[in-house]
């Protein structure tokens, strides 16, 4: 009798169950972060420092033509912050791996993707918060977006999407290297060139040929260009926005399966 019941047992989880599991995992992560207020404050210190450094130290020496440097800078630094924020996903997952939490989750009857979906979703929520802080800091130092609100909202959505996709890359790296410190250093290795060899802080025309060629196809540049166009009307929006979306779609297709595979083998 029990054998019959066993055979009838579902061997796959429903979408509703997957979503429910992911939600539990997201709530776990948000609770954990919210209870570390000092950690949150420090997470904001770094991007704010970048804003102040570039606005008041480097800004005067950077020629952005007709546009105020602070207006040029803020979309760039917002994208940079979003990418840096994504590093936390991988670091956190490798911490969970080392603490045995991932083992426990993998031994439970939950969706394989739930831990990753939940974690990246929670990190996205944190990014909304970070984005808000960045905007406030931006306004304080003179950032004046003059495009319509819907356009600015689109820019923010694009940045959030960008950060979300990079969370998956970071998740893959964190689970593959398995160690929080390594995940952190490994993260900086790709994040620094990607964010600095881009249009985030200086116009790419000022860079030497090879670097400029890299910067021009760099997804960070495309996202920054789109965000600039959508917030301060600097340049064309559609081209870079479509370019960004194409990159994000491509990266998702590659890194979601890679991250899930790394999770299964963790």
């Amino acid at each position: 009798m029990s054998a019959v019941a066993d055979r009838a047992e579902r061997s796959r989880l429903t979408l509703a169950e997957t979503i429910a599991d992911s939600r539990v995992m997201a709530v776990r992560q948000l609770r954990k972060v919210m209870r570390k207020p000092v950690f949150i404050v420090f997470a904001f210190v770094q991007p704010v420092m970048f804003v102040l450094l570039f606005r008041y130290v480097f800004g005067g020496a950077i020629n952005t033509g007709g546009v105020d440097y602070v207006n040029f800078l803020m979309p760039g630094i917002i994208v940079q912050t979003a990418v840096f924020g994504a590093l936390m996903t991988g670091i956190g997952l490798s911490e969970d791996l080392n603490a045995g939490a991932i083992d426990r989750f993998r031994s439970l009857p939950i969706a394989r993707s739930a831990v990753l979906v939940g974690r990246t979703a929670a990190d996205a929520v944190m990014n909304v918060l970070t984005l808000g802080v960045m905007l406030l800091v931006g306004f304080a130092v003179g950032f004046r977006p003059d495009e319509p609100v819907w356009s600015i909202a689109l820019a923010l959505l694009l940045v959030l999407g960008f950060s979300y996709v990079f969370s998956w890359i970071s998740a893959f790296i964190g689970l593959a290297v398995r160690d929080p410190e390594t995940a952190q250093s490994a993260g900086f290795i790709w994040v620094f060139p990607l964010t600095f060899a881009s249009s985030a802080f200086v116009p790419t025309e000022s860079m030497p040929g090879v670097v400029q060629a890299f910067a021009d196809v760099n997804p960070v540049s495309l996202a920054v260009d789109a965000a600039r166009a959508l917030t301060i009307g600097y340049g064309d929006a559609l081209g870079p926005a479509l370019g960004t979306l194409a990159w994000l779609a491509g990266l998702l297709v590659v890194f979601v399966p890679l991250a899930v595979r790394a999770f299964r083998r963790a």
Binding site: E9, G100, S107
Partner: protein, 332 residues
């Protein structure tokens, strides 16, 4: 016919050149506690990871309540609870939140998860601490909480990987009581341990693992029959009379003949119980043999290994010392 709670058939697990499990066979009857005894690196944790569907075995087959760990991982996961060597609980969450979360992941409804979590916390004497953050918990409390999390879904099979390693004697005792309660409730428990005493106390059947294989299996009594319950060591003052002392004590030996070390004046033998030490003193006294020292030792994992495999276990000093501490603590 009921399926065994756990069955492993020729399970092999290799990591590159390293063979962690070398064709391991095992069968655990439902509703029993099964002790897997072995030193560090014997393959105990690897087997637990295979059974918990965390590792895909390189070869062989393993089932939990008739469900194949490779072919039906979800069915297996619905039936197991895992508590590992490290307390896999979240520091920033409260004890209650940790257990409730795992309850939700076992697909309990929110009220059900709350109710079950409260029950489990009560059972593990964590009710008073349940609304405190885990970061304020002691090591033993964390380990209990971790065990609690594995119980909240009421899985019929619990896998406990060295649940008491590094715990103080009192906490160890509490965990033991919990395992005994689980057995009374009809839960099957697979327990790995480095401590003979622990397996002896909790498990109906014990398997000794070495180099990824089972080298001996039986009830505690059967295994102890092979090594004697306790090791008696007597040192006589006059080393020249060591052989005489050995002959006098031979009939007290539970297992093999006494081992005499004439240089040290020492006679070592496995004895059935601790009353043998008083009897040994009486006999030697009656023959006028002055005694320099008498020591009664619990057979260590080392003794079991020595007897079963003819060589010493590679258990490190620290582990042996911990086990000894635990025994002293328990006796006190």
């Amino acid at each position: 016919m009921t399926a065994p709670a756990i069955r492993a058939e020729g399970v092999r697990q290799t990591f590159g050149d390293v063979v962690a499990l070398d064709g391991l066979d095992l069968e655990v009857t439902q509703g029993t506690v099964f002790g897997l005894l072995g030193p560090n690196g014997a393959g105990k944790t690897t087997l637990v990871r295979v059974l918990a569907t965390l590792l895909r075995p390189t070869g062989g087959r393993a089932t939990v309540l008739g469900h194949d760990v490779v072919a039906e991982p979800l069915a297996v996961r619905r039936r197991i609870g895992l508590a590992g060597q490290f307390a896999a609980v979240d520091e920033e969450l409260t004890g209650r939140e940790n257990v409730e979360m795992v309850g939700r992941l076992y697909r309990l409804s929110a009220p059900e998860a709350r109710r079950r979590a409260a029950e489990v916390l009560e059972r593990l004497s964590l009710t008073d601490a349940s609304d405190r953050r885990v970061s304020t918990y002691s090591g033993g409390m964390r380990r209990r909480l971790d065990l609690g999390a594995s119980l909240v879904g009421r899985p019929p099979v619990i896998l406990l990987d060295e649940p008491t390693t590094g715990l103080d004697p009192r906490t160890r005792q509490e965990l033991w009581n919990t395992v005994e309660e689980l057995r009374r409730d009809g839960t099957t428990v697979l327990l790995t341990t480095q401590y003979l005493e622990e397996a002896d106390r909790l498990a109906q059947r014990i398997a000794v693992v070495d180099h990824g294989r089972i080298v001996a299996e039986g009830t505690a009594a059967e295994l102890k029959g092979a090594v004697g319950t306790e090791m008696l060591s007597v040192r006589v003052a006059d080393t020249a009379r060591t052989a005489e002392a050995a002959a006098e004590l031979a009939s007290l030996a539970a297992g093999e003949e006494p081992i005499a070390d004439a240089a040290a004046g020492e006679v070592r033998l496995a004895v059935a119980d601790s009353s043998a030490s008083a009897e040994a003193v009486r006999r030697l006294d009656a023959r006028g043999l002055a005694i320099a020292a008498v020591e009664l030792q619990q057979p260590s994992l080392d003794d079991v290994f020595l007897t079963l495999t003819g060589r010493r276990a590679e258990a490190d000093e620290e582990t042996a010392a911990e086990a000894a501490d635990a025994r002293v603590g328990e006796a006190a």
